[in-house]
Structure formats: structure tokens, C-alpha cells
Symmetry: C2
Subunit: 364 residues, 2 copies
Amino acid sequence: MTTAPVGSVLIVGAGLLGASIGLCLRNLGVETWLRDASPTAEAVGEDIGAGLSERAWVGQMPEPQLVVVATPPDVTVSLVVAALEEFPGAVVTDVASVKGAILRGLEATGADLTRYVGSHPMAGREKSGPVAARGELFTSMPWVLCSSEQTAPSARRLVKALAVELGATVTEMSADEHDTTVALISHLPQVMSSLLASRLQDTPLHHLALSGQGLRDTTRIAGSDPGLWVQILTANAASIVPALHGVQEDLQRLISTLEAPTAPGSRLDVAQLIAEGNAGQARIPGKHGGAPKAFAQLTVLVDDVPGTIAHLLTFIGEIGINLEDLRLDHSPGQPVGLAEVSVEPNRREELVEALTTNGWKVVQ
Amino acid sequence: MTTAPVGSVLIVGAGLLGASIGLCLRNLGVETWLRDASPTAEAVGEDIGAGLSERAWVGQMPEPQLVVVATPPDVTVSLVVAALEEFPGAVVTDVASVKGAILRGLEATGADLTRYVGSHPMAGREKSGPVAARGELFTSMPWVLCSSEQTAPSARRLVKALAVELGATVTEMSADEHDTTVALISHLPQVMSSLLASRLQDTPLHHLALSGQGLRDTTRIAGSDPGLWVQILTANAASIVPALHGVQEDLQRLISTLEAPTAPGSRLDVAQLIAEGNAGQARIPGKHGGAPKAFAQLTVLVDDVPGTIAHLLTFIGEIGINLEDLRLDHSPGQPVGLAEVSVEPNRREELVEALTTNGWKVVQ
């Protein structure tokens, strides 16, 4: 991997992403400056150590080598253009989670895009603002780099160096390929989860009390922020709509089938939908980006008191078996937990044997 | 709770659910017999200790007090009717996951339904057959009991006693109320997950490599068995179709909005969909069937080696903080894990402080 060292950086927008980038760069000893439309956010950013406030140190900021525009997407284009004009020697990147609309907006301005590279750091958290910033927000997370045909190789290398220094895993693709990808792997799951969860608005609570892990898993991301998702979904509408049409066709076919469930072929139609879901689900890569891989599960009954899960995992670790995943299942109405442990399939039998021999209750 | 003791039981169908019920009853000292259309399944059921094979002990089975029909739903009605006729003193229950169609099928036969009670034990696992049976399959899981207007109180009490002795948490409702409930909390999530995952069938693997926990969560149940779900979805079509129409209307509204994303009001429409999802998701009860409750999350960077998670949880337990949930996040391309720990909100700050002081890397 060829990367150039990152020199001085100006971060425009001291929110969660901007301040997190600043925190990390400061820890690495990079000269970092902050600019925000809100004087308060800019000052808080300096206070938490995310960079120097441009307002507080008037006239002292050198021309930056790199400008990171980390603002809401609806002002990204104008701020990227402004940065390219203000700092004729600087490379400029942005962190918006939709890239095609930004690139087309920039091209329409006639700006010099040899010094622009789009970024999408695929990291975040449920809170926003500089106070929520964390220097390790990007550690091990994907960072998509979208160069365009105009982008100079040196600009691409500099932004790639930024992502690498922040600890992210870099993937490069065009802006349109990026938008098609996130439409399917991120935006469509959000829409489906919201559509599902919105059906529960009038469901009696004693019915919802029977909910299992399936409902909890499929609706978890339905708790996301409407303000953020309005910007994402409208900005990437062109890539999302074809996927939604596909869902709509499958859904219409399923409804027609279930409205005449005893008609010839109806069982085959339903089985096909579920089988197609099997096929799609099986293609999602496993842990650490490896090939899709099925782990073996076993479920252990655990008391819901501090330390019980730790004892269980200590025991598993002592046998030398690596825990691939762990889920705590929720038991309606009982102070007892079910821990679903995932391990390499060829270690499952050994683990069940060892757990049972040592007094653990293996349920499944 | 008024329950009657369970005497001798005949289980018809030695699959996962039947054999699991048998294993548990035998552990409790209840006389249990097995009957299966497959001589092999019946014999395997006896071998694993789930009950005595009726074929192996010809003429020795006494008239059972309770018959549990644990077969695929498409033969449940005829086997319940046969059991009511063969054993005029016995109470009969079934375990099909859809109850209205079964009840209407039984009523159409004119059978004596004073001795019939429908059951839906909401437990299962990814494997099937008697070998997959576990005596503790029902521990702490919901068991819905569906009496009808014809059901005698003594029959209801006996089946309730069965569920209680198996360790399940009993909820009582009518067959139609049950079917409406599971349509929303179980069948609709399955359909939405399958519809979403089926969109991934042609997605390039290097795009899917960018998948995060959101996609993994929303598609996990899309891996379910088509054969089983054909029976469930077609049997409960009447309750599922109205929910699917609701999804279809919301989806159509979203598509129209996103096809003209700059039209007046479009941002409001999208925000409303996400907000409605927020509202529905917030109504799903939390752990142990309590009121919906938001836990505070923090994410800790952990090495992916045996014992690391155990050390982390031991440390948390030693501070006296109860672990409410734990998720291991998958880091594409790196042998490092992110453990998302959920705790009571008022303990989060203390825990972050303690972890950081002791050398753990708290990422978020």
C-alpha cells in the first residue's frame, strides 16, 4: 500500500465524525484545526482535544495540506467548493454517506476536482456532536474511498493515508458503485426495518410480550434518527428506488399467493420466496470479512446475576475454544438468561461435553 | 395458578418438539409413550429416552390421560380427531404454530372438542428430528394456550399443567387472537427478512464485504427452513395478508416520495416513515418481559483470542455491574473484535471510567 504522510489538517464541521477524526489525528501528533458554523461546537472541539479552534487563534492557521468536510450532506457541496477555492494547494475530502449526488453537485460548479476525493467512513454511534466523539471510532471499520476520473493520484494517496492512520480498512470504488452498494447493504435494511416496526404501533403490549429474538433483531435499527435518514434516503433515492421496486414485486407476488393459499402452485411460490432469502442471506460474509461461514451454536442456561456470563466464557476460554459470537437471549417473565454461544463447528461437541460435565445446563 | 398433575402421556410425532416434550416428561418421572408414522423415528425417540415406543411394547400402553399431537401442521387436524376417538377419556392438545385453521378444521369434523386445547410452545431450534431434542427446550420460553368455547375447564388445566411442568411461561388467548399476534411478531418479521435478503442474491461479494451489524441482524432469520415456513405462512394467510397490505401501502408511499425526492413535502414523508418505525420499535418489551427499556451501550476493543471476552466480563462482574446484553461486532479484514456491552444507563459512566483506568480500550 502506497500512502503519503498526512501533514496539517483542517476539519470543517466539529460534529461526531469531524471531532473523532480530530481526536485521532491529535493523538498521532498531526497539526489539526477546527472550523464550525457554530462557535460553541468549535470551542468544545478544541476543549476535548480534537484540534485548534480557528476562531480562537485568528490568523495563525497555516494553509492546510488536507481539508476534511464533515458537515451534514446538504451543505457538503458548497463547503467542498469553498475549501478548494480558499486553499489552492490543499486536497479536500468529505465524509457524506452518499457520494454520487455530492460528486455531481461538485461537477456542476466547474470546480477543480483534481484535488477532491470522496470518503465514506462507515462508522458512527447513536449519539451526535463533538462531545460524543471518540478517537478510535474508525478502528477496524470500513472506509470507502471514491476517486473520480479527475482525481490526481497524489490526492487519492493522501486521503487513503488519512483513513489508514485512523485505523480504518480502506476499500476503493466509484461514487456510483458506492451508492448502489450502500443502497442494498445499509439503506434497504433501514427501510425494511422501519416498515416492519411501524406495523407494531397499535399492537397490544401483551401481544408484544411474546416477542422473540427474531423480532428484536429485525427491528433494532428501526430506532435510528429520522433527521439523519431523511438526508441519506433522499440523497441516494436513485439507487434505493430500484431495490424497493424489487421488494414491491416480490411482496405483491406473496400477497397474491397468500390471498389464495389453496390455489395450485401457491405453496411453491411461498417456498421460493423463503429459499431466495436463504440464498441471499448465505452470501453475507462472516466475521473478519472472511468467506460466509456457518458457526455452530449452543445455548446455555445462565442465572441473570453479575459474573455468570463471565464465568461461562472464562470456562470456554480455558478449554482453548475461541468464542466466535455470543448472544444473550431474553426470557419473558423469568430472571434467567439463555446465552447462545457460537464456535467453530468442529469444536461444538467437545464444548457441549465439557460444559455438561462441569454442571452447566446446555439447553440446545 | 391452579394446575392438575400430569399422569400418563402419549406423544404423537417424535420430531424435535415431541421428543423434547418426552425427554422433559421422562425426567420428571411421568409415564410417556411415543407414536410416530416412522418406525425409525419412534425407535430413536425411545433410544434417546423420550418415551416408550408403542410399537416395541405392543398392547402394553395404558389409555393416556393426555395426548400431545406434535406433527407437521398439515396432518394435525386428522390426528387430533383420531386421538379424541381412540381415547375417549383423554385430553388432546397439539403444538402447531398456527391455531385458528386447526380449530376450524376440528369444528368442521363435528368432533367432541370439550377435551381439546390448542398449544403453541414458542420454542425451537435450527435442527429437526428426535436426535435434536433437548429436555430443556421450553425452559423460560412462552407457551400460548388456546382454549375454545367448547373446552372443559379440566382439560384447560391439564394442558396448562403440562406447559408449567416443562418450564414454559404460559399465556392464554383465543386461537384467532394468537394467530393475529404471531402474524405480527413472528411471521411478518420472517417475510420482511426474506424479502430483504433475497435482494442480495446478485450483489457482488466485495460489496457485501462492507456489511455491518445492521444487515446481519435484519437478515439473520432469512436463513430459516422454506418447508416449515410454507406451512406456517399458508396456514396463517388470513392474519398475515392485512399486515402485508399495510407494509405495501407504506412502501408505495415511500417509493412515490423517493421517485420525486425534491418535491414539496417529500422530506417530511420520509421522516414520518422512520419516526413511525421508531414508535413501533420502542413498544417491544425489554429483557424479562419488562417494560421497554433503553440500556446504555459502550463498545470495547478486544483481541480476537480465547479468553479475552471472558476477562472483560469477569472485570465487569467484579465491579458489580450486571451485563444486560453483549454483542460481538465483526470487523471486516482485521483480527480484532468490538464488544458492545449493554448496562443500566446510570452505571455506564462508572464502567467506562473503570475500564479505561484498567487498560481496556473503550471505543464508543
